[in-house]
């Protein structure tokens, strides 16, 4: 960590007195070399963390990250920033548990203020059956080594007195509180990993779109890009949102359908919502950013889309769900909304695996939960690319699990594209 110690409170004061003229660019802008040991396609959160951990954990520094736009310009640059480890299924549990532990040390690790705020996440339940399911989930979380508390109605009321407890369709029976859950500053995570990777010698190459993947005798040999051909022995595809297009360059057809997920931000308000609240039955979740905006969203629009914007029926549905849960937000004005492109896998869980092509690896299928996974996804993808073996906590994120039946269907709704 010492080598990365570029920022401190003292430095901020000193630079303030000197007119902030002493800050230097945070990473280099290198020209691509003709060959690297490894290439990472995609300079988003997952790609940058993969490069960072390849350099840091495995000592592999002759790497480039190829980004078609600018670093962190995709879903890491716009999301609802929730960080949690409240999964139920073996295979998901240990992965997200590992990720949350990495989050808890991330600021010290990167010497970068990612504003990780463990403000507590509350999943509401509305029936006896749902209470049983949540108690079971909470027990699974505790068994895994994470935290969970089952709140009854009064317990929820003590924390969230502003909810509508008299709703007749979805009366609030209680909630599952995950105190270590919370939010983080999404851009800072990308920038922190980018800086750390750059410092360890990784070339971060922006405005460099991969246009082809070179394969010879079943083995990857490099990529074609808008800035020339680059050779490499190993290539990682880490481009959730565009996975199908990039994988198609290698002749692969993925179990992925891209869907749109909308989210919304209001004008800045004084602190009013202290936690992350999810209202699953209404398809609504909300938190308040440190700037004061209410950040909320709902479910997918539920049709394949790359438009990066949604349609109005889902906007209306999310607003209605919010008003049902907490009528107090009705006077807040929505400033902006956006639609992110989600890599939806049939069972709702991600993929970190080798491909049938030697030397080509893929990290994709993050559905609508990729943000919290950024640290562990990079950690495990780096392990896979460096050692050719899956990391212990990501060994079930297999590309062939749909064919073999080893599904990770966290919601229990089935393995079909239109169900998650």
């Amino acid at each position: 960590m010492g080598a990365d110690m570029r920022y401190s409170g003292l430095r901020v004061i000193a630079e303030g007195l000197r007119g902030n003229r002493g800050w230097k660019p945070v990473w280099r802008e290198p020209e691509p070399k003709s060959e690297y040991d490894m290439l990472i396609i995609g300079g988003g959160g997952h790609g940058l963390s993969t490069a960072y951990y390849l350099a840091k954990n495995h000592g592999i520094r002759n790497i480039a990250v190829l980004e078609k736009g600018y670093l962190g310009g995709g879903n890491i640059g716009r999301n609802t920033t929730i960080v949690r480890a409240n999964y139920f299924l073996p295979g998901n549990q240990e992965f997200y548990s590992h990720s949350l532990k990495l989050w808890e040390g991330l600021e010290a690790e990167l010497n970068y203020n990612v504003m990780h705020s463990q403000r507590g996440l509350i999943n509401l339940f509305h029936s006896d059956g749902q209470r049983d399911a949540f108690a079971r989930r909470g027990n699974a979380m505790i068994t895994q080594g994470d935290d969970a508390e089952l709140l009854d109605r009064d317990g929820v009321r003590a924390l969230l007195p502003y909810l509508d407890f008299d709703n007749t369709r979805f009366p609030i029976y209680g909630g599952l509180l995950h105190r270590r859950g919370g939010t983080a500053r999404h851009d800072a995570v990308a920038w922190g990993y980018a800086r750390g990777a750059d410092k360890r010698g990784v070339d971060l190459i922006q405005n460099c779109e991969v246009t082809g993947i070179d394969i010879s005798a079943g083995r990857v040999t490099g990529v074609q890009t808008t800035r020339g051909a680059i050779r490499a022995k190993k290539v990682g595809i880490v481009v959730a949102g565009r996975s199908s297009q990039v994988a198609a360059m290698a002749g692969l057809r993925l179990p992925i359908e891209s869907h749109i997920l909308q989210a919304f931000v209001t004008e800045g308000l004084k602190p009013v919502i202290d936690h992350v609240i999810s209202f699953g039955m209404g398809h609504f979740y909300i938190s308040q950013s440190d700037k004061g905006g209410l950040v909320f969203g709902g479910d997918l629009d539920f049709y394949a889309s790359y438009a990066a914007r949604g349609n109005l029926p889902m906007v209306e549905h999310v607003m209605e769900a919010g008003m049902t849960l907490m009528p107090m937000i009705g006077r807040a004005r929505v400033l902006r909304s956006w639609g992110g492109i989600m890599d939806m896998s049939p069972d709702g869980s991600p993929i970190i695996d080798r491909t049938p092509i030697e030397g080509l690896y893929i990290d994709c299928g993050w559905n609508y939960g990729g943000f919290k996974a950024v640290p562990a996804s990079g950690w495990c993808m780096a392990h896979l690319m460096a050692t050719d073996h899956p990391h212990e906590v990501a060994r079930r994120f297999r590309l062939d699990r749909f064919a073999s039946g080893h599904l990770l269907d966290e919601e229990g709704t089935g393995s079909q594209h239109n169900l998650h």
């Binding site: 199908s244 057809r253 179990p255 394949a304």
Partner: protein
């Protein structure tokens, strides 16, 4: 987004339920190998641009539709009944 149902005309998107890519029309035979079922159920071209997918006119005439659509612009290019598409030889 509005979809023109061949039977009901131009209707609001809310009347329709999305099912998935038109791959679902190419159901393998009973004796097909596991790979064919995996491709049918899971693997997708997932194009950014023109696509063909299945929608159900749930709040209208209850017809199954093949919709030609652009996934980048959300433009609906053409809509046919699944029965018509299949009558013309095959499905996809």
């Amino acid at each position: 987004m509005r979809i023109t149902c061949p039977l009901c005309g131009d209707r609001d998107r809310r009347e329709f339920t999305y099912y998935g890519a038109a791959d679902y029309l190419n159901r393998p035979g009973m004796g097909a190998p596991a790979e064919a079922w995996d491709a049918y159920l899971h693997l997708r071209d997932n194009p950014a641009g023109a696509t063909r997918d299945l929608w159900y006119h749930e709040m209208g005439c209850a017809a199954w539709l093949v919709v030609n659509r652009d996934t980048v612009s959300h433009a609906v290019l053409s809509v046919r009944l699944v029965t018509d598409a299949q009558a013309e030889g095959g499905a996809a």
